[in-house]
Structures are given as C-alpha cells and as structure tokens.
Amino acid sequence: MILRLENLTHTYKTAGLEARTVLDIGMWSLGEGIQLLVRGVSGSGKTTLFNIIAGLLRPTTGEVYLGEQALYRLPEAVRDRARAQKIGYIFQTHHLLPAFTALENVIMPLQFAGTLPASHRAEWAKQLLVQVGLGDYLHHRPSQLSTGQRLRVAVARGLANQPSLILADEPTAALDPDNGAVIMDLLQTACRQTNATLIVASHDPALADRFDQQINLHAGKITAMPPIGERKLHAL
C-alpha cells in the first residue's frame, strides 16, 4: 500500500464556537499506481483530507502512513522533505510563485527535495515544461500566462520529483471542459508512466469515468461509491 489512513479525525476548534469535526475516517488505504477520484460537496472535508495526507495539517487523532512511514511521527523538517520527495501537490488555485518564472517554479520542489543533482535540475524542469506544452514559456512569469498555462506549470511542478503520490485538488475547476480534459490527460498519463498514485478531488461528474476508483466524502466520512462498471450500467 502506498497510502494508509488509520483512525483519522480532524476537529476545528474556534474560540466561542462549538468544536467541529470535519474529518472522521477509520481505516482506509490505497494501492500503488491507483487513480482515485474523491468527490464531495464543498465543506465535505476534501481539502482538509489532502492537507493531512500531504503532511501539512496534523490530524487531531490518527496517523497517515506513506508506504511504511508514519508521517506525523517524523520531525517536521523531515516531514517537509518527505513531502517534497514523495508527494506532488497540485493546488486548486495552482499557487505559482508570482516573482518566479515558470521554470523557476518547477525547479523549486527539486531544490527542496535535493534528490536530483543540482546540475540536472534546470534541464529536468525544462523537459517537464516541454512535456506539458510550455516549452516556449519557460521564462514567463505566472502573470504572463493564461489560467490553463498556469495549471500546466503547476502540473509540471507537481511531477518534478517523480513522486509516488500526487494530490490534485480541483485541478480543472477553473477550466473549460476541453482544457480540463487536456490537463487530466497530462496528469493521468504522467502518473501511469511513473506508476504514481493519483488522488484527484473534483466536483466534476464528467471525470468519474477516467478513474480506477472513487470515493465520496460526506461530512468528513467516506461513503461507498458503486464500482465504476455498475455505475455505467445504471446510466444505461
């Protein structure tokens, strides 16, 4: 298993307000190379789940295992490095750094991970940008790119360290269907090539057919979804 969640809960406590549990997952795991769609309405806990899996948000209880590594038992700096090396996180609003070029944005996780020799980082980042169709935009800043191009940079950045797990939070939300399909093709193809596990959070029902598995998050709990084959039959 590439990812295992054990008794995961997360509760937000705000002064003067009642504590609110937004995530409550018992035991859940995901195998290597699987492509999973996480569905759920806004506020269902998708982003919180992603942040916990990415090692950015310590759960109130429970543990996240990345391979055999218990993420939250690691010292923070080691967890940060593990995130850089093993997890590619593609944010909903891409979160490119505005002062850096497309190339520099892609190089950044390579620098933080430190796995690739320094002399190869720029070349590898260039290759990735060429792969996502931005070979002519290496030195453009995010403000000089379209929304779709920015998302492509974010995808290239997410793939930079050839992570074993890629998290993509609503990657196509800001795109039209055609551009959304192009991005999903890019992401899924890249993950298949490296056998990386892909978890995508999306509202978009049209994406369902693209994934091996899907789960539904409702009020922080995973609810079963019918297998893909059965859903196709219902549709008929």
Binding site: L56, E76, A77, Q85, H95
Partner: protein, 416 residues
C-alpha cells in the same frame, strides 16, 4: 545554501522600490559617518603635511599662538600683527638658530598671497635627511626686487608663465582690477614644484618688494583700500613672522622661553598649536560620529520595518514554499539573508557615498583654504563599518524571520 541566496535575491527584487529606498537609507547612514571620519582624517593629514615643510618654531607678533601658526604655516586667516625686522636680524645672529626664514605677508594676485621672504626658504626641509621642500620646477629663484616665484597651483590657475608680469592687488581677497597696486609690476622668474601645502597657492618675492609696494603709497591720504590691507606687512621695517629652525631641541625650548618672557614677539611650536586644533576637530568628529551611529540605528529600524511588512505581505508565498517542501529553517534563513543582503549592498553603496562625498567636500575645501585634504582608505574603520550595519541587519531581521518561520501553511494556502 546557494539556493537560499537565490530566494533571498528574488524576494528583494519582488519589491524593488522598498529595497532601493532601504539601500539608499543604509547607504546614507554608512556614508555620513564615513565621510565625516574620512574628512577629519584628511584634514589632520593635510595639516600635518602642510606643517611639514617648516622649522619647528614660528616667531610672530604677541597674541594667539594658534592664529600665528595658522596664518603663517597654513596661510589661513590674518596674522596677529607684525614684528620689527630687527627680531629677524637678531635671530640670524643667534647661534641657537640654524636657519631663519622671514615671512612678510603682502598683497595678492588672483587670491594667491604674495609673500616676502629670502633665499633661505630653499633650505627648508621636513628633516635633515629630506630633500628641500621648495624646489624650482622652472626658471630660477628671485634675485632682485619685483621678481616673483610662483607656487605650482598659482601658475596653473592663473595661467602665468615665466617672463609674464602682473600687478599685486590690495589685501588678501581676490583682487579686482580697480584695486591694483599698479605702481610696480612683478615679473615671473620661477615656478616651484608642487609641495602639497598651502604655499602652492602663494607667490614668493623679496621682503623689500612687499615693502616697496607700500612705501610708494606713503604720503597719500588713507583710503578704504588701505584699511582693507589686513594682515599685510605694510610697514617697511616690519615683517609678519619668522620661521626658525633651532640647532637642537634644547635650543628650541630656550628660544621659545626667550620670546615668552619678552614683550616684542612670541614663539610657537606648530605641533602644539595644531594639536589644540586637532582636539577641536576631534570634538566635532565625535559629535558627528554619534549622529552617524544614530542614523545607522534608524537605518536598522528601516530594515526591520521593510522586512516586517515584506513578510506580512508574503505569507502566502512562504506558505507555498512550505507546501512544496521548504522547511521552516530554510524560510528563516532566507529572511535573514535578505536582510543581510540589503545591509551589504547598502554598506557598499555607503562606501561610494562616504568616500565620494568626502572627495567632493575635500576638493572644495582644499580649493577654498589651500590646505590639501588627502583622503585615504581607513582600514581601522573597516571592522566597525562592516560589523555595525551587518549586526544591525541581523538584529533587525530576527523578528521578521521568526514571523516567517511561524507562518501557518494551511491558513495561508487556503484562506477560506
């Protein structure tokens, strides 16, 4: 670590106006005390150098010893008064004096003082082993009245050459054409080599020439111009001062004592009198240095404010970096490096500002006063000029760096 520098540099470039203003303030903060200290040092060196060419004792009219030295050696201000020529002749006969050079301050030509003196001037040298201070670069020394030898800068600035003639103007100010002593023309017979002293801006002639210019006016009614001839040895049996090189240290003190107890003249040691001047300079420097340090502290506060506001505005950027795997220590370090880079660039800029301003002021002062202000690199100041700004930069960045260290990643990545 190299990448940390890259991130810090990018952080600075992302807010160019703020960065440039901060660098400017630091530059001025470093430059101001540097200019003051550099000019102070230059003034000291200049005065020491200017007093080098002369004997250890200056004899002149009773009054302020400092004024006597300043007016005779540095050609600054007006002399205390004149002394009888007999003081000079007596000293010439005194076995305790190895060399006596008369100084009769006269009128001016284009602002350059005309000095009546003797051939003994050519014997002046800083120490016995040094070459003479006054050496002829072109022509010869004067041998008769109304022959003149020009200081190097007079020849240059007034464009006078060997064989040229000129008239003296009244007093010590820059002569107007109507103020001329047109009774007797001086002719240029020689030009001195550069001595890097105020005497480069002087014209040398015989004492008798200075007297004769005024002698010819005797009998005429006193005019406004006469009253302007402050400091000129206008009386024919008087001179302004005497430079005396005693044969030894004991004799120097004996001569000083002789004049101290007499009523006609005083003797002054330039070193002692200039030492008092240095004390005055030192006081001014100390005050300005204290002001400079305060300005530097203000620059430190500017860096703090700049970094603090930059971090407040960059919390999402920091959160993204953390999201991509950057750890807190890296972020902390980048902020410190940013601050140190600003300080470093500001300090380098301050060098240019400090030495540049000192150079301009020194050139202007030298031109005004004819005292050279030689500027030099001040190695003794270097540790202070580097350590103080960099320490301030480090100190000013600690709170912003801690602020960056503590950025809540999730809160700033997902503000909703």
């Amino acid at each position: 670590m190299r990448y940390d520098f890259f991130l810090a540099w990018r952080g600075l470039r992302a807010r160019p106006v703020q960065t440039l203003i901060t660098i400017l303030i630091i530059g001025l903060a470093v430059g101001l005390p540097l200019a003051v200290l550099s000019l102070g040092d230059g003034a000291r060196q200049g005065i020491i150098r200017a007093s080098d060419p002369f004997g250890v004792l200056v004899v002149g009219a009773k009054g302020s010893g400092q004024q006597l030295v300043l007016s005779t050696i540095l050609l600054q201000g007006n002399p205390v008064g004149n002394i009888p020529f007999t003081v000079y002749t007596d000293l010439q006969a005194d076995p305790r004096a190895a060399l006596t050079v008369p100084i009769a301050l006269g009128d001016n030509i284009g602002g350059a003082r005309i000095i009546g003196t003797s051939v003994d001037l050519l014997e002046l040298r800083p120490t016995v082993n040094d070459p003479p201070t006054f050496r002829i670069a072109a022509g010869r020394f004067f041998t008769s009245d109304f022959e003149a030898v020009l200081g190097s800068s007079v020849a240059r600035t007034l464009g006078l050459q060997l064989g040229d003639t000129f008239y003296a103007a009244h007093g010590t100010g820059r002569g107007l054409a109507t103020d001329l002593h047109d009774e007797a023309a001086y002719s240029v017979v020689g030009i001195f080599e550069n001595t890097t002293s105020p005497f480069d801006n002087a014209v040398f002639t015989s004492v008798a020439s200075v007297w004769e210019v005024h002698e010819e006016e005797e009998g005429a009614p006193p005019s406004l111009l006469d009253s302007l001839e402050i400091g000129a040895a206008a009386e024919t049996d008087q001179i302004t001062a005497i430079l005396v090189k005693p044969i030894g240290f004991i004799e120097a003190n004996q001569l000083w004592q002789t004049f101290a107890t007499g009523t006609v003249a005083q003797a002054a040691f330039p070193g002692q009198e200039l030492g008092a001047l240095f004390d005055l300079l030192g006081q001014g420097e100390r005050i300005l240095t204290a002001v400079g340090i305060l300005v530097m502290v203000i620059a430190g506060l500017t860096v703090f404010l700049s970094m603090y506001s930059a971090i407040a505005a960059r919390q999402q950027t920091i959160a993204i970096m953390r999201g991509l795997g950057g750890n807190r220590i890296t972020i902390f370090r980048v902020v410190i490096i940013e601050s140190l880079l600003v300080m470093l660039i500001g300090t380098l800029f301050g060098r240019a500002v400090g030495y540049g301003a000192a150079f301009i002021v020194a050139a202007a002062l030298s031109q005004q006063s004819a005292i050279p202000i030689p500027l030099r690199f001040l190695p003794s100041l270097e540790p202070l000029l580097w350590l103080l700004p960099l320490s301030l930069g480090l100190f000013a960045s600690l709170i912003p760096a801690y602020q960056a260290y503590r950025v809540d990643v999730v809160e700033h990545l997902f503000p909703s």
